[in-house]
Every structure is written in C-alpha cells, then in structure tokens.
C-alpha cells in the first residue's frame, strides 16, 4: 500500500460565509504568497460554504489563510488524468463505476497537461488501486510541494 500514498493530494478546504468578497479575499491572499491555484470549486449550504482548492503549495496556503483568520483544513483527494476530448470523462467515470468507487464530490480542470478530474472518495487507497488497475492515470503527490 506504500504506492497508494504517492497519489493522495492535500486539497485545502476553506470555510467561508456566503457573502460577496470572500473569494476575493482568499484569492488575494494566495496571490500575495505567489501560490498558484490549479483548480477550485465552491460548495454551498444554508448561508455558508466551503471553498476547495488544489494549489501548488498547500502548506504555504494553509499557513497564509490561517494567519489572516480563515478556518482551513486539509482534505485528502485524488486527481485522475483525462483525455481532453469527447469521451474523456466517460472513460474515467466507467473505471470508477466498474471499481465500485463512490464519489463524495468532484470537480475538474483542463490545463496545460490536459484535463484532470479531482475526486473526494470515502476510501482513497481502494479508489487508487481500482483506478490504476482499471488503466487510469493518477497525478502523483510529488507534483505539489
């Protein structure tokens, strides 16, 4: 199981009230630290939300946001590469389904090195094994610092 650990990525989850300017405050703080945001999504419920972001320097982002008063937590996610063309998502989704992997939430980005699907699952090691066995490609933890 040592190898599954190489694919677990630390997403930062930031608690935020649902009101104008909160995202700007987060983004500005990250800019000041020269932290690049690879992907992010906002989840909202009953007046508050969680900003989830994949950044190149998770620890630095955690420290910066905490220092200015934000409530931040690390969340383990995995990132699967997709072909950035029609059918790309289907390929990956089929692997997940065949491997009986349940997704808690997910978001995606399409960047320089192709499209990436970020997944929060209840059992990450099992999901990693399932995806690798099914022929999927995962982004390694080492991409993040």
């Amino acid at each position: 199981m040592t190898e599954t650990r190489n694919y677990i990525i630390k997403q930062i989850s930031v608690f935020s009230e649902n009101r104008p300017g909160r995202l700007a405050a987060i983004a500005h703080a990250l800019e000041e630290e020269k932290i690049n945001i690879l992907a992010f999504s906002i989840a909202e419920a009953n007046g508050f939300g969680v900003v989830r972001a994949l950044v190149d320097h998770p620890k630095k982002a955690y420290d910066k946001l905490t220092s200015i008063g934000f409530n931040v937590a690390f969340t383990d996610v995995i990132a699967v590469k997709m072909r950035d063309e029609p059918g790309g998502l289907y390929e990956i989704a089929k692997i997940l389904g065949d491997a009986k992997i349940n997704i808690e939430y997910s978001y995606a980005y399409s960047g320089k090195e192709g499209a990436v699907l970020i997944l929060r699952v209840d059992n990450a090691p099992a999901a990693i094994t399932g995806i690798l066995t099914g022929g999927g490609t995962l982004i390694e933890t080492s991409v993040f610092h």
Partner: protein, 429 residues
C-alpha cells in the same frame, strides 16, 4: 357588561380601603416565605411601617432573578399539599420560574378572566376557541377556566394545524378566539389561501406579545373581529391581569387584585400618571405565591383620565421591556439562555448575534454563531451537522424554532462593556 359590577366599579375611596386591607393580608402571607423574612430583616423593614397604600414604596422589590433563585418551591407560602397546580415560565439559564396556585388562587384567576371576557361582551352564548399552548404556559388553562366559568362553549384547540383550526371555527360556529396576534395574522392568511369564510367570528382576544394599532386594524379587517389587547404574566397568575374594555384606549388593570406602581427602572423612584416606566405590581389576592413589588420588566404608564365604562384607572398598552427579554411568538427569550446553550456546544464559539424579524406576520429569530476553529473538518456536511445540532439544542432550550447561521471565526462583533447582541427588526409591525 360586568361580571362583578360591585367590585369593578368601586368608588376610589372604597377601592383604596379594600386594597389596604388586602395588602396587609398579603404582607402577613409573604412573611411565611423565607426569602421575604430575610429580605425584610436585612433591609430593616417592619410590617408595622406599612400604614397606608403609599407606604408600599418603603418595601423592597422582587425581581425575576429572585424567583429563579428560589427554584423550585422557595416562594411558596403554603405547604405543597395546598398547591393544586403548577405552571412554569422560561428562565434565563435553563431553570424555569415556577408558579403555584391554591384552589382559591385558581378561583381568583378564573374570576379575572371572566371579568375580562364579559367586559368585551362575551357571554355563555359564545363559542370560544382557545388557540394557545395548553401545557406549562399559563395562557391555555388560564383562559380555558375563565371561559368555562362564564359558561361559554370552550374549544381547547391549542396550537398548530392551522387548517384544522379553521375547519373547527367553521364547523363549530366559533364566535370568539384567543391567540397571539401574530398567530391570528397567520390564521387569517391561511384562511384566505383556503378561501375559507370565518364569518361567525366577532371577537378576537390577543396577547402574550406586543402588537401595534396598525396590526389591530389589519386583524380586524382580515378576520372580521373586534380585537382586544390582553396582558398578563405567569408570576401574577398569567393572562387576565389587565385587559381592554370596549373603549380600547388603554387596559383596565384589576386594582382590587393588583396594587400598581410605575417606577423609573434605573432609580427605582415611583412615577406619576402619564409618566412612562416599569410596571411594578404587588398582587393582593395571591395565596400560594404572594409577591411584594414584583418588577414585571414591562414598560407602560398609568392613565389619569377616567374611562366611560366606570372601571378604575387604566394602564397604557405595553410599549417595550426595561430589560433584555425578547418576546418571540409569545415566548420569553433572554439572550443569556442562548449563550448558555452555545457554551455547551464545543463546535461553535461563544459569540453570537440575534436578529428578530417579522416574516409573513410571524416572528422569526436568526442566530449567527461562529464555527470553532478546531472543529472545522473541511467537509460541508460536517458544517451542516453542526448547524443542525445548534438549532436542535436551541429549540430544546427555548421551545422555539430558530434559524442558525454558521459564520467565520472572529467575524462577529466583540463588545466591551454591555453587549448589544440583539437586533430587533420588527419595528414596522
């Protein structure tokens, strides 16, 4: 109409004689209570010093906090086997205030309700639907027994299920209702949605929360009733302490049962007619739980002018509170109760803000509370679970549904000195 014309229209001199006689009986009764024995001794007050009604101002006040400290039966002046009923009213930190009644107390109380209902023209020919809580709250049973005393046909419908309430009004030919003014407004709107006619109604008795004259006009138009304001508090039996007569220009307080003072809530000085202050009452007919100069916290004034109906001096409709108590849908809420609940929930901080609004004529309380830094897991569903937990615990403690907003740590205002945690936005009732 009068239930007890002799007493209700006593001459000022006869009334004063009766009050003084009953005050002396009451003072003898309060000396059976340990709290008063000690209080009078500590303050060097002797019963012999009370020779006139005005001398009551020499006596110490009784505060709600004193009653709480006496929980549960510390203020009872009779043995428990003479107490035939107990009601409670919400306390600031979990423990309620207990009020007890002897059989004679229940008779006095229902007599006062009978006077009030007769005063506004209700008789045994009326069908009365009592749409308030029948539990520990005094409003349910208080009105119930008063209406039965008159011989009215009483429907103890209690609260909830508005459609069923409307069906009963229609099916039973209800002529008079009692509820909070905000519930009456809700009832009117549901009736409109159902396209239900409420044309048997003629009288609406509304109390337990402050309401404006514009709301009165609205209720009368929508429900086709004449609306009367009802005032009372559990410590003084419950509802029925004061009530509007058909003039509807102030409330008649029953002076043969309640000795009334208006004081400056800060200095404690007694104020004159027409001067607004806190209502202080020494009940004159309470056996189980006699009180001396009880500070109601309600702000009003005595009205100098006599009334066409011939009853004694009125008080103005209540305009507010001299303390921080909130009345939400008829239920008393102290900000300290909210604080007490939050202290017991580690996932949230102890800072909070309370916002009170009136939405579709119903009071809505919203509480902002900060998530505790150490309890943020990063998961949305954990936040939602915390939010639910806070709402449930507040509901259990306050017996009131509230909306809870989870906000960022450090985002709520911090107060130095007296905190202003409550924003009441119900101004435009």
């Amino acid at each position: 109409m009068y239930w007890n014309k002799t007493i209700e229209t006593l001459s000022p001199a006869d009334l004063a004689d009766l009050q003084l006689k009953r005050l002396k009986t009451t003072l003898a009764q309060v000396m059976k209570v340990g709290f008063y024995q000690k209080k009078f001794r500590d303050e060097g007050v002797r019963l012999e010093d009370v020779k006139t009604l005005a001398d009551v101002s020499k006596l110490p006040f009784t505060r709600k906090q004193d009653l709480r400290n006496g929980y549960p039966f510390g203020f009872f002046a009779v043995p428990l086997n003479q107490v035939v009923r107990i009601h409670t009213t919400s306390g600031t930190t979990g423990k309620p205030t207990v009020v007890g009644y002897t059989r004679a107390d229940l008779d006095t109380w229902s007599e006062l309700i009978a006077r009030n209902m007769t005063m506004v023209g209700l008789t045994k020919d009326d069908v009365f639907q009592n749409m308030v809580n029948y539990g520990m709250f005094t409003g349910g049973l208080g009105f119930h027994y008063g209406a039965e005393k008159i011989g009215m046909t009483v429907i103890p419908s209690a609260t909830g299920n508005t459609k069923r309430q409307i069906e009963m009004i229609q099916d039973f030919g209800v002529t008079a209702i009692h509820c909070t003014p905000s519930y009456a407004m809700h009832l009117a709107e549901v009736a409109e949605e159902m396209d239900a006619s409420l044309d048997t109604l003629k009288t609406g008795l509304f109390g337990a929360e402050p309401w404006s004259d514009s709301m009165r006009a609205e209720l009368e138009r929508k429900l086709g009733v004449t609306a009367y304001d009802s005032y009372g508090l559990s410590e003084l039996f419950g509802p029925g302490v004061a009530f509007e007569c058909p003039e509807r220009d102030g409330l008649h307080i029953w002076h043969d049962c309640y000795l009334v003072e208006i004081i400056d809530p800060v200095s404690g000085d007694v104020l004159g007619d027409g001067e607004r202050g806190e209502l202080v009452v020494t009940p004159l007919m309470k056996e189980a739980m006699p009180l001396v100069r009880y500070r109601t916290g309600d702000v009003t004034m005595t009205i100098e002018d006599g009334c066409l109906c011939g009853r004694a001096k009125k008080i103005a409709r209540i305009t507010g509170r001299s303390d921080d108590m909130l009345v939400i849908r008829g239920i008393n809420v102290f900000p300290s109760q909210i604080e007490h609940v939050l202290l017991k929930i580690p996932e949230v901080g102890n800072q909070f803000m309370v916002y009170v609004d009136r939405v579709n004529h119903l009071d809505e309380m919203t509480i902002d509370v900060e998530i505790d830094k150490g309890h943020f897991s990063g998961e949305l569903h954990d936040l939602a679970r915390i939010q639910k937990k806070v709402m449930k615990q507040l509901r259990d403690a306050l017996e009131l549904r509230t909306t809870v907003n989870i906000v960022e740590p450090g985002s709520l205002p911090r107060f130095e000195g007296k905190a202003k945690r409550v924003v009441d936005r119900r101004g435009s009732m």
